[in-house]
């Protein structure tokens, strides 16, 4: 059963009561909240997610609660909690969805050490994963959004989840936060994309989430190996460049980009070495989607 098959009342009852238990790639989440507007947003944005089986255990128990502030008695504030702890200070109530999504990402980044976590978008085409590792602000979520609406399957806009032993990557298709100018860019380029509400005033400016395509969520148990690593950089008015990157440079960028490289030690060293040896490594500079998508299509053609 998927979230979209639940009536709004049943959905709210789960969020208020025992928790909405959903699958997110290889992880299970339990989400609770009493905030009606957040419930409505989640009902729409999580519509394609499968509910967990009764017997399954949730790795992450998260909730978003109302918070009162003595300093700001009239402000409506909320707080994100994971397993009863609050990693962020309270924020205005309209930021609830963004805070929930960032909080879940933080919990994954802090706790998951059986997989190597690259700070990377990951999409699949022709049975292989294209990794797009990049730091915040490089436009990877925006490029990832364009790719998944042009025939690529979404693994994640945020984490490349790699099993260091097998080299397999696991899909983790979650809401993708577009920021600031990217929101209008995607609305104009992809009118078919389903976006959540615009949330102003966050630490990263105005945010609007893209709902992952249904097929990507339905196929989120299908892992794949990486074949291409492309380090993207959006640059205004730049002409397209998709150039080979030396393996040693790709290793350096990947190792420094992996969230838990140092924690995994030699296991991560072996995994990244194997990954760069088995992939075509490129760096991409682009300013427009059409040329970037054409270049990536050519790279990933069979």
């Amino acid at each position: 059963m998927i979230v979209g098959q639940l009536s709004r009342d049943t959905f709210r009852a789960l969020l208020v009561g025992s928790g909405l238990r959903v699958k997110a790639g290889p992880f299970n989440l339990s989400i609770r909240t009493r905030l009606p507007y957040l419930a409505d947003q989640l009902h729409r944005m999580y519509a394609h997610y499968a509910l967990m089986d009764e017997a399954e255990i949730a790795e992450f128990h998260v909730q978003v609660i109302s918070k009162r502030s003595i300093r700001r008695p009239f402000a409506q504030l909320i707080q994100f909690e994971v397993d009863g702890r609050s990693p962020f200070p309270p924020v205005p109530a309209e930021q609830a969805l963004a805070t929930l999504e960032w909080g879940i990402n933080l919990a994954i980044a802090m706790r998951i050490n059986h997989l190597l976590l690259f700070h990377s978008a990951a999409v699949e085409r022709n049975g292989h994963v294209l990794l797009l590792p990049a730091w915040p602000g490089s436009g990877k979520t925006t490029l990832c959004t364009a790719l998944i609406h042009r025939g690529y399957r979404l693994f994640s806009d945020e984490f490349g989840l790699m099993d260091p032993q097998s080299g397999n990557f696991f899909p983790l298709p979650r809401l993708m936060p577009l920021k600031n100018q990217s929101i209008k860019v995607i609305r104009d380029y992809l009118p078919e994309a389903v976006l959540g509400p615009e949330i102003p005033g966050t630490l990263k400016g105005t945010v609007a989430h893209v709902r992952p395509p249904q097929e990507s969520i339905e196929r989120s148990d299908e892992s794949a190996k990486a074949r291409w690593i492309v380090f993207p950089k959006w640059s205004a008015n730049a002409s397209l460049q998709l150039e080979p990157l030396p393996q040693s440079e790709a290793f350096l960028l990947l190792a420094s980009n992996a969230v838990n490289y140092e924690v995994l030690g030699e296991t991560a060293f072996d995994a990244v070495t194997s990954l760069v040896r088995n992939c075509e490594c490129r760096k991409l500079v682009y300013s427009g989607f059409d040329s970037a998508l054409a270049a990536l299509d050519e790279l990933t053609d069979d």
Partner: protein, 96 residues
């Protein structure tokens, strides 16, 4: 005053070659280092036998067919000091 340099636990280093560059995993420290061919050759020469800066530079010059000069020697000395800070090499004794 001249120091004799030796490598620390060369056998505990994992070395992999990537298109002519080398990545080295230092098990003891859990650190990864990026070396070029000369950088790795320094470790491999010192692993075979501890050496002074002068004799190390001579061997490197012969191996890479480079003309020995003071600039090269100063560069290798800086590399050794960097390696020492990383725990890759140490000075075993000094001769007056």
């Amino acid at each position: 005053m001249e120091f004799i340099w030796r490598v620390n636990y060369f056998s505990a280093l994992r070395v992999e070659s990537l298109e002519g560059e080398f990545i080295v995993f230092q098990r003891e420290a859990g650190k990864t280092h990026f070396l070029n061919e000369i950088g790795l050759k320094i470790l491999s020469i010192l692993d075979q036998s501890p050496a002074t800066l002068d004799s190390l530079c001579r061997e490197l010059s012969e191996y890479f067919t480079l003309p020995p000069d003071t600039h090269f020697s100063a560069q290798i000395n800086r590399t050794l000091q960097r390696y020492e800070a990383l725990g890759l090499v140490s000075r075993v004794k000094e001769n007056a």
